[in-house]
């Protein structure tokens, strides 16, 4: 009996949500000038401005500040059946099922 993975459809979500108490007004009066909310020049994501959510535990996700920008990354895979022998060829395959 081979190793078995049973992952059906998977959807990964990374959401950074504006915290309620810090929510600006969103109504716009015809090309109203916008002001900077975050340029991500800090070392860490500001928890007072952003809320990270993982809405799908089946995907692998990352959020970080890198190079003065916010980096969001997600990978998800779907497999139903036997895993092929050998080393996975994708980082997303690192969740190898139990042997």
């Amino acid at each position: 009996m081979g190793r078995r993975a049973n992952r059906h459809a998977a959807a990964g979500v990374i959401a950074l949500l504006l915290v309620g108490s810090a929510t600006p007004q969103w109504r716009v009066e015809a090309q109203q000038a916008l002001v900077l909310y975050d340029d991500f020049h800090a070392k860490l994501i500001d928890p007072g401005r952003w809320l990270g959510l993982d809405l799908d535990s089946t995907s692998e996700q990352a959020r970080e500040i890198k190079g003065n920008a916010l980096r969001l990354a997600s990978v998800c895979t779907a497999v139903l059946g036997l895993w092929p022998e050998g080393r996975p060829d994708r980082p997303s395959d690192s969740r190898t099922p139990p042997r």
């Binding site: 992952r7 059906h8 459809a9 998977a10 959807a11 990964g12 979500v13 990374i14 959401a15 950074l16 949500l17 504006l18 309620g20 108490s21 810090a22 929510t23 600006p24 007004q25 969103w26 109504r27 716009v28 009066e29 015809a30 090309q31 109203q32 000038a33 916008l34 002001v35 900077l36 909310y37 975050d38 340029d39 991500f40 995907s59 996700q61 890198k66 190079g67 003065n68 920008a69 916010l70 980096r71 969001l72 990354a73 997600s74 990978v75 998800c76 895979t77 779907a78 497999v79 139903l80 059946g81 036997l82 895993w83 092929p84 994708r90 997303s92 395959d93």
Partner: protein
């Protein structure tokens, strides 16, 4: 609100007729058309946003992603049913290319206005709602930046996979809290 998006990597491979999709989003709930109650009932929350996506069945050359504006309304408390009210193609962008993406609620004209890089603004209208409750009275008051990938199930030893690496910079809003 607006932000600068730069998709550094995007891959989507599907094992079936259902395409895999790697996508970035800037979106949010802007108002409630009546029936939603904070903090959890999202019924009639109106959501708008822009997605930049690469699908496994794309006919575009490698490294090209498509921008699309969308307008949806939540059909139930959890927003598991959220029919699209309108959508519009905004243009294309290449991997590693920076693009400014903007979403505006023009409530005076019952529409949202979207900007995608240097492309002309695109607007999507909605029928005048009976009630317009502002965002803080929407079921879920959120604006978000997302990477959201979708893959279908497979059989045998085939695999579906979707991956996106997104960099976001200079998020701007129309009023600082």
């Amino acid at each position: 609100m607006e932000a600068e998006f730069r998709v550094r990597e995007a891959e989507a491979d599907s094992c079936s007729a259902t395409p895999a999709v790697a996508a970035a989003f800037i979106s949010g709930s802007f108002f409630n058309g009546g029936g939603g109650t904070p903090p959890n009932n999202r019924t009639n929350d109106v959501r708008a946003g822009v997605t930049i996506r690469r699908a496994s069945d794309s006919a575009d050359p490698p490294g090209v992603l498509r921008g699309t504006a969308f307008l949806t309304k939540c059909g139930d408390a959890q927003c598991t049913v959220n029919p699209t009210l309108a959508f519009a193609a905004l243009g294309t962008v290449s991997l590693k290319e920076r693009v400014r993406v903007r979403v505006e609620w023009d409530d005076a004209n019952n529409q949202f206005v979207f900007q995608f890089g240097d492309s002309p603004p695109e607007s999507l209208g909605y029928g005048p709602p009976d009630v317009v409750l502002p965002a803080q009275d929407a079921g879920v008051n959120e604006k978000s930046l997302q990477v959201r990938n979708t893959v279908s199930g497979c059989t045998g030893e085939q695999r579906s996979a979707a991956f996106m690496d997104l960099h976001v910079d200079d998020v701007r809003v129309n009023a600082v809290p």
